[in-house]
């Protein structure tokens, strides 16, 4: 099995280095994986003049799974839109057809204080957000900035979902709900937007194939509220690309430890791209301060979803729980009484706990 490793920008290379340590242990133990690196985002622009150059495309297509650090940084802010780092991210998602983005929001009991929410509201929080990732207003055509019939400039984009796009993400979400508490909440704005009225109709249709799952529907504005009011009412949520972008970030911040949260973006055959939910944190890049746990937990997700190695996934997750229980904390999750460690010390500790 070939893993494409894309360190990216900012803290990307540091956190990837620690995640590689975990992969290399598995490799030494006999897991048949090979690792190959390529640049994405700003790093790729610097080297090849494109945020998703051919060399990276080729590797990404050959690989069985992709591990990504993070992309972006102020150095690239003035680039033309098609050259910016985040374009590399959008391009690889689309190119590999990674339509199913899974973003867990889990509160680790050891880190309960990190949440800005009262502990009774978030203790035990464990939500899985399933976000459609290759459709919607992110990719809809037509789009642009134009002069309209009245001679005035206007910006415009197209929100769009075809039936097959909604069906396939629905099946992913129902499948995940089946493995969890059999509760699925589909988020839409069906009272205003035909796209999401259509989305809702398809969800209801696919639900017939999963009679054990209880499907509910919620407007996106209400969902943004309910995540704050009572997040534990949710188990699996499914929504479109733009609403999912917003709600998954909100949900992950409820835990107070976004540095802990992994993500998976899957195609129809469980080939996937795995990356931390957090960004490239340019302010702390190169200082060995970053938290590598979200990236390491992304490796666990890779073992689970792309390689169907549930036991290995759990072993990695348990190693992370152990270092937390041992009181080790990077700066972002440090609190009085715990032991502050660097990015590389945290990676070493996880390897030792494996």
């Amino acid at each position: 099995m070939k893993i494409a490793v894309l360190p990216g920008d900012g803290i990307g290379p540091e956190i990837i280095k620690e995640a590689r340590k975990v992969l290399e242990v598995l490799q030494k133990e006999g897991l048949a994986i090979t690792l190959e690196e390529a640049p994405l985002g700003g790093a790729a622009y610097d080297q090849y003049g494109s945020p998703y150059p051919e060399v990276t495309q080729k590797l990404a297509h050959e690989a069985d799974a992709v591990l990504l650090g993070a992309v972006g940084g102020p150095a690239y802010d003035d680039l033309d839109r098609p050259l910016r780092p985040e374009r590399g991210l959008l391009a690889i998602r689309k190119d590999l057809n990674l339509f199913a983005n899974l973003r867990p929001a889990i509160l680790y009991p050891e880190l309960a204080n990190a949440s800005t929410l009262k502990s009774e509201v978030v203790s035990g929080l464990d939500i899985m957000i399933v976000r459609e990732l290759t459709g919607d207003i992110y990719f809809g055509q037509p789009r642009g900035i134009r002069v309209n019939a009245s001679g005035e400039r206007e910006g415009f984009n197209t929100m769009l979902y075809a039936e097959s796009e909604v069906r396939r993400i629905a099946h992913v979400a129902f499948g995940i709900a089946m493995k969890r508490n059999k509760k699925l909440c589909s988020v839409d704005k069906a009272n205003v937007l035909e796209t999401t009225e259509f989305w809702k109709e398809i969800m209801i249709d696919v639900a017939k194939e999963y009679p054990e799952v209880t499907l509910s529907h919620m407007y996106v504005d209400n969902a943004a509220m309910q995540l704050v009011r009572n997040p534990k009412q949710f188990d699996v949520m499914v929504t479109g690309n733009i609403f999912g972008d917003i709600l998954s970030d909100e949900a992950s911040m409820l835990t107070g430890s976004i540095g802990m949260l992994p993500s998976a973006s899957l195609d129809a055959n469980n080939k996937g791209l795995y990356e931390p939910s957090h960004g490239s944190a340019p302010d702390i890049a190169g200082k060995n301060l970053a938290n590598p746990l979200a990236t390491i937990l992304s490796v666990a997700m890779m073992m689970r979803y792309s390689f169907n190695l549930e036991a290995v996934a759990q072993r990695i997750e348990n190693a992370v729980k152990k270092v937390l229980a041992d009181g080790l904390r990077t700066a972002d999750i440090f609190e009085a009484g715990s032991t502050k460690v660097s990015c590389s010390e945290m990676g070493d500790a996880v390897v030792a706990a494996l």
Copy 2:
């Protein structure tokens, strides 16, 4: 000055009745206002077969300001889309050109415990969200559900902002920032959507006319996170219709007391529609349990923005603060040690405290 009073559905009539008591006191004291009622939403559909019938349109156009309760309820869920209650709300906003929606998120010190957030995170919270209300994907054409070139069904909508639409909401937001802490945060998704890249460009241009205001920009996904992480970093926020729908609901829920929060929707001449931020709460309708304070505070906003009567606005706001300080609470904000009152008792108490 003529005020159109639209009780609407659910708890609408009850909360409007209490807000009317306040208006009637002002009237008796000599304020030259007349009040006239008309139906909107489900009530209007029941009576006239349309959620925004001609009689209501006529009154709304004649009036100097509109006071609305709330619209919607399960009784109308099976109606055809154009007949549903929320269509009445969207129609009156568009018909009166109410492009500037002001939604404060204020934490009342007496209700600090109602928030699900830790008190140090939200104490003193006072954010004003300025949401554009007559453009964006809410009204953009083309839209619908169609069969595409591949013979597949798809839902689609158009996000769209013309330059003049962004300019006028920018001026409202900068104007409000000038009267507050001179800090304005514009929320966009300029890294993905041309519409909001254009929005950002116009914001930067309008900023030149307000050199005293510090303008910042934030992506919508980050804004959804930052509202949870550290809401007090915000003073005035400005954003488009759909992002504003989501973020203003999230922000109001941070206070834990959405039953306390008013809103104003203004046109270019400060004619406005005033309504509570909460909905029609069909589950408690007709039980005299609702909290009328958001509606009463909406009357205060009406005095401030449409009638330029700042002293009267403050007098109403102070009366609300007084009843809270006296320990009076409707069911939604009740806690041990306070005095539980009904909707009408709360209205009477505010009148007594005026």
